[in-house]
Structures are given as structure tokens and as C-alpha cells.
Amino acid sequence: MSTASVPLPNWITYGLMPFLNLVVAFLISGVVVWFIGENPLEAVKLLLQGALGNGEGIGFTLYYATNFIFTGLSVAVAYHAGLFNIGSEGQAYVGGLGAALASLALDHYVPWYVTMPFAVIGAAIFGAAWALIPAWLQAKRGSHIVITTIMFNFIGAAMMVYLLVHVLIVPGKMAPETRVFLEGGQLPKLDWLIALFGGRLGAAPFNVSFLIALVMCVAVWLLIWRTKLGYEIRTLGASSTAAVYAGIPYVKTVIITMLISGGLAGMMALNPVLGASARLQVEFVGGAGFVGIAVSLMGRSHPLGIVLAAVLFGVLYQGGDALSFDMPKITRDMIVVIQGLVILFAGALEYLFRPAIVRVWQRFGKA
């Protein structure tokens, strides 16, 4: 008998199964560490210490988490509509342009809190714009959005490099990046927030973007579960034929969803560009868009789950940095390995343990 359609309680589906998948991913990562000749337990200790051991570590962890919240939300919103947006990476990259232009234009004249709304809107608009063509191609011409968004990641990267190298670069400087924004173009750090818990933020670039990210979580939650548009998005994702039956306009909904998704991805740029380095650099996204896929999968496309998953990945990133510093044999690429394993087990192999769990559940759980 097939076990696939046996219903399981939510705590198993949303709690136990992701947890088991994570455990396996981490066990295999441990094997890799051991294989390299380091002690996995020691590595875990260093990782957790580096990520959560002090205010600065926590600051970095949350800084990375902020990136992943944005991209995770971006992937999730599209996913609710049944669209697989692999393009968050490129949308975030282009979104950086919008954020940077706002700062470059305003930082001389106004304080940060005046710049911020413009930067947020700029980032969102540019990110959304980068999602528009794949969305349109999907909606009107039926081109598979996975493929087009992959293509647009590359096109976006080429465009951004061109702009940074030829247009935005500061004459005479080596690196292809914009000038450093003045204070009016930066997002202030959240030292006070860490101080509230008795920590010291130190140099960690944990900044106001985090709060924007949390606001976006609430906004996405509201959008998906408390608005008519969200209802339409979910209907489209769950059954495109039912959506037609209900008179939900396919083209419009796909495009709006992707614009929102792209806008969220674009806003991710606020964190590194305005919050951390105070300038637009090449490749500043650094794979956060792809991490967003993992975060969204793990978080089951729910903002709360996304925050948790994003923090987990933040811990991995920051802890991985600390780890590679203290165990030079383990380079930072180890994080990428762990990510890959998490995506594999929590995403592609998410049902690996289901049959076994169902059997156990049927025998003992239902009583």
C-alpha cells in the first residue's frame, strides 16, 4: 500500500520531518569535516560559539539572516502562486542598483531616515523590474519561469558588472564599486537592540534592514493569508484550473506576484549595500538569492518558518566564518556544502523519511 496519501498531524509534517532532514544534512556535513581530518564536535562548538557566543557574533548572524529573510520571502511569495522564482539572486543584485541610486542621490542632503524610504522603494522597484520580464514571459507566452529567471540572473550580473565597471566606478579607484555613501545614505546599526540583551554589537553590520525584513514578514503574512490578493495567489498556486473557474486573472496575478517577489528580493540589497558596506559592489549578493530557496523550503513558505530558517542559515554563515578562521583546514566553502546538503535533504529528499514515519505513526501514534 502506498503511504503517500496517509495524512499526518501537522507537528510531524512541519516539525519532525524538517528536523530529521536537517539532522541528516548535518550528520553528513560532520562526516565531511571528519574526512578532512578535523573533529566535527569541535567544529560544531566553534561554529555555535562564533555565531551566538557574543554580541558581535549574534550581530553578524542576524545580519546574514536579514539577507535570507528577504530572499526567502521572495521565493515563498512566488511559490504560493506555484511559481518557482530562481531569480531572486539577480533581482537582489539589480535591486542594489535602485537602493544605491537613492543613496547616491540623497546622502548629501538629508538624514538616513529620509533616504531610507526612497532606498526601500528604489530597491523594490528595481528588483521587481528584473522579475517583470520573466513574469511576463511566463504569463503571456508560457515560457518556463525557472529557465527564464536563471537566464535573467546571468543577464543581470552582466549588466551590473558593466554598470559598475564603466559607469558607477569612482574614477581612479581599483575596485568596480560606487563611492562610499555618506551617513545620510547609510542605514544605522542596531547597537541598541543588541545592547538591550546585554551584548556588544562591535563591528557587526547588523542594521535597520533587519527591522524592515521583519516588517516584510508581517506584510507577507498579511498578504498571503489575510488579503483577497493573497487568496488569489494561493488559489492559483494550488489549482490553476480552479483559479480560472473563480475568475482570477492569470496574467495579472502572475505578474503581480512576481513583482512582489522581485521587490522583496530587491530589498535584500538594503542590508549589504546601505547597511554594511555603504557602497554598491560587484557580486554583493553572494548567493543569498539561492539560499533563499533553501530558506523558503525549510520554512515551508511561511514567514515564521522563514525567519527561523534564515536565522539557522545566518548561524551557518557567521559560524562558518568563525570556524574557518579557527580551523583553517575547513574553508568557508564548508558552509556551501552544508547549504547544499540542507537543500538536498530538506528540499529534494523531503519525503525520504515519510514512509517510515507513516508506518511508525500508524502503529503507535494513532493509538
Binding site: 553578524f60 558588472v161 581599483m174 558596506s277 557580486e283 553572494g286 578562521f325 568557508r332
Partner: protein, 310 residues
């Protein structure tokens, strides 16, 4: 004084047979001579450098040497946060009292290897393959260009760059392809100033039976008989000096511009390339060297006006 020195490499990796490896050599030499341990770190991405530098500083390491211009703004920031720590940045200038900026007159060293190339070439065509297209690498190219043209009237210089982002430092495939293109156009000596991508240039030249010029470290040994010479940039000295100055309490901030006169740049002449270098070439290079030191030859610095006289 008791010191805890630390070294942060550029993104090419410690054993890039070139720039970073030179820094490593300097640190190892210091360790061998003094027995003082040092810590080093190989960032694999741009955001990591700053964290590593800050980590070292906050853990009490002093001096902290960062090789690569990529860490310019990182040093700028961290040096402000840790005013009591001594920093060294190589290949860029940071104007802080506790920072020593070591820059090289690469145009002078490149002029020398350009002279070698210009005289050695049978076809009168020589090539240059740069890594990332930035003014610093243009500076190499420009010196090389001047040397090659001065060596023999009518010499032609081709130039290519691997890319415009950090990835350009580690793309030997594209570098090799660009080299092949230059060889197809008739070049028989190609100068690589491309970090780890340069490996591809040297490899391709060797595969094609042509000649190459290495950079930063002495790379003559990589393909003996094919690597004509190397433009040696004494990054090892910068590291070594930083460590020993700190140890001897003689560390000073400010800019050090090292040229041929200061032994900061040179051309490599050793057993590996001895058979290739004719006495005429040897003489011409030594003369050029003397002329540069004496000021009789003024090699134009691309970065002074962002242009190269052609």
C-alpha cells in the same frame, strides 16, 4: 618586542605561485629566522577579508598585514577601530597613522621584462594578459609596453584582460584562451599579470612552444625553457619587513613606494632561464636597470594620469 603577527592574503589563495605565495615566503622567512609563529588566513570571498582582518586585530594580533588592494576599505575601517594595532596594506594607500602602505613601482619592473620580451621576440609581436582590468594592472601593461617598444623599433604589443571582476584572478581557462588568441596573431612572448589566471597563460605558452613571462614571484621554474623571465615583486619583503620592524619597534606608518632602486621590483634571472637569455639581452636589461635607477629613463606610471603613452 613580543609580537603576534598576522597575515591576510588576497583571494587567489596562499599557494598561487605568485603574489600571495610571495607574501607567504616572506612570512615563512621571518618565522625561520626568529622562531616567532604567525597566523595567516586565506579569504575566499571579498566580504571575508574584512572580517578576518578585524578578527585578528580584536584577538590582539599585531601587526596585521593585508596583501591585496581588495582590502583597502577594510583596512581603512579596521585601522580606525583599532588605533593601537599596526597594519600594513600592500598595493594600495591608506592614509592612517597606524597603517603602512606598501606600493610598488610595477611599471619599472615591467619595463625590464618588456625589454627582455622586445629583444627576444622573433616576430616583433609580444603579448600581455592581465587579470582584472583595473588601473593597477594597466600599470604593469604600460611599463611592459614601454620596455618592449623601446627595445626594438616596430615592436607590437597585444593586450587582453581576463575580466572585470574578482573572478578574473582565477580563470586560467579564459586566460589560456586569450593567450592562444595572441599567439595566433603572431605573439611569441606573453607576459601574464593575472594572479592565478596567469597559470593558464604560462601553461598555454608552454603547450604552444612559445614563451611567457611570470609575475610577482619568480615563476621561471614552472615551465623551464618556456618562461622567459618573471617580473618579481618583492611582496615577501613587505611582509618580512613589517614583521621585523614591529619586532624591533621600528614600525612606521606612511607610504613606501618600492621600485628598482629599493629592490622592490626586479626581473628574475636564474638557472631556469639562463639558456634563454642571450648576452645582448642581459646587457640591455642591465643597462635599462641602471638607467632607471639613475633617472636617465623615466618609466611612465599609468596611475599618475590613467593613460599610457603609445
Amino acid at each position: 618586542a613580543d609580537i603576534k603577527p598576522a597575515l591576510v592574503y588576497g583571494t587567489g589563495g596562499k599557494f598561487d605561485k605568485s603574489f600571495n605565495e610571495a607574501a607567504y615566503t616572506g612570512a615563512e622567512k621571518f618565522k625561520a629566522e626568529t622562531g616567532i609563529e604567525y597566523r595567516d588566513f586565506e579569504p575566499t570571498g571579498d566580504t571575508q577579508g574584512e572580517q578576518a582582518i578585524r578578527n585578528f586585530a580584536s584577538k590582539g594580533f599585531n601587526p596585521v598585514v593585508a596583501v591585496s588592494f581588495a582590502w583597502t576599505s577594510a583596512i581603512e575601517k579596521v585601522a580606525t577601530e583599532f588605533p593601537d594595532t599596526k597594519f600594513v596594506i600592500v598595493d594600495a594607500v591608506v592614509d592612517k597613522p597606524n597603517v603602512r602602505s606598501v606600493v610598488y613601482k610595477e611599471e619599472e619592473g615591467s619595463y625590464l621584462v618588456g625589454t627582455v620580451a622586445g629583444l627576444f621576440s622573433k616576430t616583433g609581436k609580444v603579448g600581455f594578459v592581465g587579470g582584472m582590468d583595473i588601473p593597477l594592472i594597466r600599470k604593469f601593461e604600460c611599463g611592459y609596453d614601454q620596455g618592449a617598444r623601446a627595445a626594438k623599433a616596430g615592436n607590437d604589443v597585444f593586450q587582453n584582460y581576463v575580466g572585470t571582476t574578482g573572478a578574473a584572478w582565477s580563470d586560467p581557462v579564459r586566460a589560456g584562451e586569450l593567450t592562444k588568441g595572441q599567439i595566433d596573431q603572431g605573439a611569441d612572448v606573453i607576459y601574464a599579470a593575472a594572479g592565478a589566471s596567469g597559470i593558464g597563460v604560462l601553461q598555454t605558452a608552454a603547450d604552444q612552444g612559445k614563451y611567457s613571462i611570470g609575475v610577482d614571484s619568480n615563476q621561471n621554474y614552472l615551465h623551464p625553457g618556456s618562461v622567459l623571465t618573471s617580473m618579481v615583486k618583492r611582496v615577501d619583503l613587505a611582509v618580512y619587513n613589517a614583521f621585523s620592524d614591529a619586532k624591533g619597534d621600528t614600525f612606521t606608518g606612511g607610504v613606501q613606494a618600492l621600485g628598482i632602486k629599493e629592490d622592490g621590483v626586479a626581473w628574475a634571472y636564474d638557472d631556469n632561464n639562463k639558456p634563454l637569455i642571450t648576452p645582448e639581452i642581459l646587457a640591455a636589461v642591465e643597462k635599462a636597470k641602471a638607467d632607471i635607477v639613475s633617472g636617465a629613463i623615466k618609466v611612465h606610471d599609468y596611475m599618475s594620469d590613467n593613460s599610457c603613452p603609445k
